[in-house]
């Protein structure tokens, strides 16, 4: 993937165009090691697609380079015409002239590449100067790449550059490092945090690629490059470099000197060598990658010693900087200090909502758990599990809760055990174990109710969770009374947080029970009230508001809430929440007939999520599968089947849409048996759930398959209308809700020519190929002779055909308009109309306006 190089590619293209016109060019392409000079050149050459003869050569990174190494490469290039360059023992100047002649006398334009000129031997430098001065009167573009950061004032290439740069045939290009945006794109679905990647690499494409390729730890190749440079330093300055390498960003010069030899001379030499930079106060590496390379190359004893000394210095400066202290404690491998600082650092991170950092510090502290109070360890495991869950790391979270539960059981701590069971019930949901989940939740309530001294707060929380599980099962009948009980406990406990959390569950159950206005109003209240006090609850509430409104097909409400959920999640590292909201944005867009948007939302969810059974992926894949089915694209069935397989065991709410999509696929192929086979068990589940839309949609496809004759009780109205044959009412209802495909389906079912024509228009505009085809065929079968053709006729531009504007002009010509009338009609000048008309005549090969109009008629427009 070549990012942010379009300008450079365009500049090269322009240079070649000039060369082709006969004024040859030399382009000096500079950039630091790894900035992508070679990649740029390659991309440029590939883009030429054989439009030029390519001759390439490179300089060697050897202590003593091969003389004329690039020219040796030229001779080895097949078809370069320079195969015999070294056959006769000519002197350099003769050889140079031979190459130049080749450039001047080639019929095709030539692109000659000399890579890595910073390593060039003296003879090659002479060649570069020679050809650079003479390239102007050839049809060649000569590209010379070099690392500008390695070409200091004394470098031999410098003087050559100095002589070439003033020439008008020379141009300089600089290959910059990548921006944060590009790095984010490259990080893609690798799992590496884009901001970490950018911090570590400064956007150096080579480093970025290396790190992504190597996974989490530093790749040895980049390391080797840096360490080799440091190895050439004397002992004193090297110690300074080592000392600076243990400081994550930069190191106070005084500290550096204290950690090293104590001699300021050594600091100066280290800076002078270019390995370190100094702003007069602090020392730092030119690059973070260089720093960590040096740090990891140090012998462990020396490295640990430096980190220990650093801890001493830091403690004097600021004993409460636990994050930094923990960092050095971990690096020094000092268990007691890790226990002391990582624990506090984790808590601080959690308080700031830095979920990733919290997990990292917690895991570090748990490594030395035997040095920490047992109760503290168990509690920390519970906290870590919560954050791991937010990061979608379900299995590791379960492991932590189980370990905590064991300890609570041994100590007979009932409330803590209940809390662990409650937490497990939530985690089991993540892996689709709905029965286990409900059982754990029930157990947590039972445990608390079995003792007389359980706090109302614990009871409220546990009971609310149980109610929540019934909500997920779409069971308001059981759920609402439990939620009311939870609210009583919460009121007794007089806890604002708990009350709010119970209110959240209650609001969701109100939605399930069909009390939509109450439910939406209360959910919005929870969203607003929890924003400051309870981030987790705020995230859940806003996401549930979005997905709940989506499920109920209240799209305006859904879109607003989902956008809010995405924005909130992105700014708070709540990746799981963002993905779930995105998957619902995809679902809403799909149902609204915005299929391109839908794909745009769904794809990144599928590509970045690791767990294929997560709700986000289930939702996104189901949506993408349905889009494919409705477009008639390949792979829809496969996606839907995979979704249903991966969601085995999950709640109905995650399964009925893909199941309906699969039924639709079979219906489009006339395979009613497969429809019923896939629908039956899900339909049965819908009949016992409080889910009118699931009943409606599953019932509709059951009816289409001929398996039922009447709408199921409490099915959503538009579907019920369709099943009852009230197609006009159904179409109106769908239109009101904003589901164009469903409108068209209802009109199609109307079976009258006018309604089917209307349906056809909608199917065409959506790009719903299978239904367009079917509707057209049925209209033709019913005796209609001129069934309208698809939209591509008037709205698309074809390669050599007319633009949309030209089509508009042409159709007005066809209606007998004059140029000035056309101008008035389209709000353009007469002059512009004239241009359009002459372009139209040329493109249609028509001799007159009348002939063009006749062509238009022939096209059937």
């Amino acid at each position: 993937m070549l990012l942010e190089r379009d300008d450079l590619l365009a500049a090269l293209k322009e240079a070649l165009d000039k060369a082709v016109e006969g004024s040859g060019r030399m382009a000096l392409i500079a950039g630091e090691a790894g900035s992508g000079k070679t990649t740029l050149v390659k991309a440029f050459i590939e883009s030429l697609d054989d439009a030029a003869l390519i001759i390439t050569g490179a300089c060697d990174p050897l202590t003593t380079p091969r003389p004329l190494s690039p020219l040796l490469d030229f001779a080895a290039n097949d078809g370069s015409g320079l195969e015999g360059l070294f056959a006769l023992e000519h002197d350099n100047v003769t050889i140079f002239h031979e190459v130049l002649d080749r450039l001047r006398h080639s019929i095709r334009p030539v692109v000659m590449v000399i890579e890595d000129a910073h390593w060039a031997d003296q003879a090659t430098l002479d060649f570069i100067r020679f050809v650079g001065r003479r390239v102007a009167d050839s049809k060649a573009l000569v590209l010379v790449t070099y690392r500008d950061d390695e070409v200091g004032p004394d470098h031999p290439l410098r003087s050559v550059l100095g002589q070439l740069i003033p020439l008008t045939s020379t141009q300089r290009l600089h290959v910059p490092l990548l921006t944060v945006d590009a790095v984010t794109t490259l990080a893609g679905d690798s799992g590496t945090s884009p901001s970490d990647l950018f911090r570590l690499t400064d956007g150096n494409p080579f480093y970025v690629t290396e790190i992504l390729a190597a996974g989490e730890s530093l790749p040895s190749s980049v390391q080797d490059a840096v360490v080799g440079r440091v190895a050439r330093l004397e002992d004193g300055p090297r110690k300074v470099v080592d000392a600076v390498s243990i400081a994550p960003r930069s190191l106070d010069i005084e500290y550096a000197s204290l950690l090293a030899s104590g001699r300021m001379d050594d600091v100066d030499i280290a800076v002078g060598s270019g390995v370190l930079e100094s702003d007069g106060r602090e020392l730092r590496f030119r690059h973070e990658l260089a720093r960590s390379a040096v740090e990891t190359s140090m012998p462990p004893g020396r490295r640990h010693g430096l980190h220990r000394t650093m801890i001493g210095l830091l403690k004097e400066e600021d004993p409460t900087d636990h994050a930094r202290l923990a960092h050095h404690a971990i690096k020094a491998e000092q268990p007691d200090l890790i226990a002391e600082h990582a624990l506090v650092a984790a808590e601080e991170a959690k308080q700031r909502g830095a979920v990733r950092e919290e997990v990292a510090f917690s895991m570090a502290a748990l490594e030395v758990a035997d040095l920490i109070d047992e109760r503290e360890v168990a509690d920390m495991r519970m906290r870590a599990a919560e954050s791991l869950y937010v990061l979608d790391l379900i299995e590791p979270a379960l492991d932590q809760v189980k370990l905590a539960l064991e300890w609570y059981q041994r100590e007979g701590l009932v409330e803590q055990q209940a809390e662990a069971h409650r937490r497990m019930s939530t985690l089991h949901l993540g892996t689709g174990q709905v029965e286990k989940s409900l059982a754990e939740s029930q157990q947590s309530v039972d445990l608390l109710e079995s003792v007389s001294d359980a706090s109302s707060n614990s009871l409220a929380t546990a009971t609310a969770t149980l109610a929540h599980h019934y909500m997920l099962r779409r069971d308001a009948t059981h759920g609402l009374p439990i939620a009311e009980k939870a609210m009583e406990y919460a009121t007794t406990a007089n806890s604002e947080t708990t009350t709010l959390s119970v209110k959240h569950t209650m609001a969701c159950l109100e939605l399930i029970a069909g009390r939509l206005d109450d439910g939406f109003t209360h959910l919005r209240e929870v969203v607003d009230q929890a924003r400051e006090s309870d981030r987790r609850l705020h995230t859940s509430a806003i996401t549930n508001l979005g997905s709940g409104a989506g499920e109920m097909r209240r799209y305006d409400l859904a879109k607003e809430a989902l956008e809010e959920a995405v924005a909130w999640g992105e700014s708070h590292d709540m990746d799981g929440g963002v993905r779930y909201a995105r998957s619902w944005q995809a679902r809403v867009a799909f149902e609204q007939g915005r299929w391109e948007d839908s794909v745009r939302f769904a794809e990144p969810v599928i590509n970045t999520e690791l767990n294929p059974a997560s709700y986000s992926v289930l939702t996104a894949k189901g949506v993408l599968g349905r889009v494919r089915v409705r477009r008639g694209d390949p792979g829809g069935k496969e996606f839907l089947e995979a979704t249903l397989e991966d969601s085995e065991g999950h709640h109905l709410q995650h399964r009925w849409s893909p199941a309906s999509g699969l039924a639709e696929y079979h219906w489009l192929r006339g395979d009613n048996d497969s429809m019923v086979e896939g629908l039956q068990s899900m339909f049965d589940a819908a009949l016992v759930a409080d889910s009118p839309w699931a009943r409606g949609e599953l019932g509709y496809w059951m009816w289409k398959a001929g398996a039922i004759a009447k709408p199921p009780a409490d099915a959503a109205a538009p579907f019920a209308h369709q099943i009852l044959g009230n197609w006009q009412q159904a179409a109106d209802a769908w239109s009101e809700i904003g589901c164009p495909y469903e409108v068209a389906l209802a009109l199609y079912e109307g079976g009258e020519v006018t309604s089917m024509l209307e349906a056809l228009k909608i199917f065409d505009s959506l790009g719903a190929k299978p239904m367009s085809d079917r509707t057209r065929a049925e209209l033709r079968n019913s005796g209609m002779e001129s069934v309208p053709r698809g939209p591509s006729l008037s709205t698309r531009q074809n390669l050599a055909g007319l633009t949309n504007r030209q089509m508009e002009v042409l159709s007005l010509i066809g209606r007998g308009f004059t140029n000035s009338e056309i101008g008035k009609e389209l709000f353009i000048s007469k002059k512009t109309v004239e241009h359009h008309v002459s372009a139209i005549l040329t493109k249609l090969g028509a001799g007159s306006r009348e002939e063009a109009a006749a062509t238009l008629e022939k096209m059937g427009a």
Partner: protein
Amino acid sequence: MPRYMVERDFPNGLEIPTTQDGRAAMLGVVNNNATEQVTWVQSFVSGDKTKTFCVYDGPTPESIRRAAGLSELPIDQITEISVLDPYFYVGA
């Protein structure tokens, strides 16, 4: 990477001149395809030039559609395809 047959309709007829315009049009399509990691392998054109059958390599049908959208090319039908070589059965 999967291979697809992309059927396109050109009711006005598809005419690609062998001029700079034609070259630019082709290059534009190829460049647009590249942004979606889509490769245009080759096309077959009906006698009346109103329909093309284009063989494409691409990661997904959606990427084929996006690439077509960038070049303002119509799509009638996308079908995933694989090679059937008669001489594999007949013997060369």
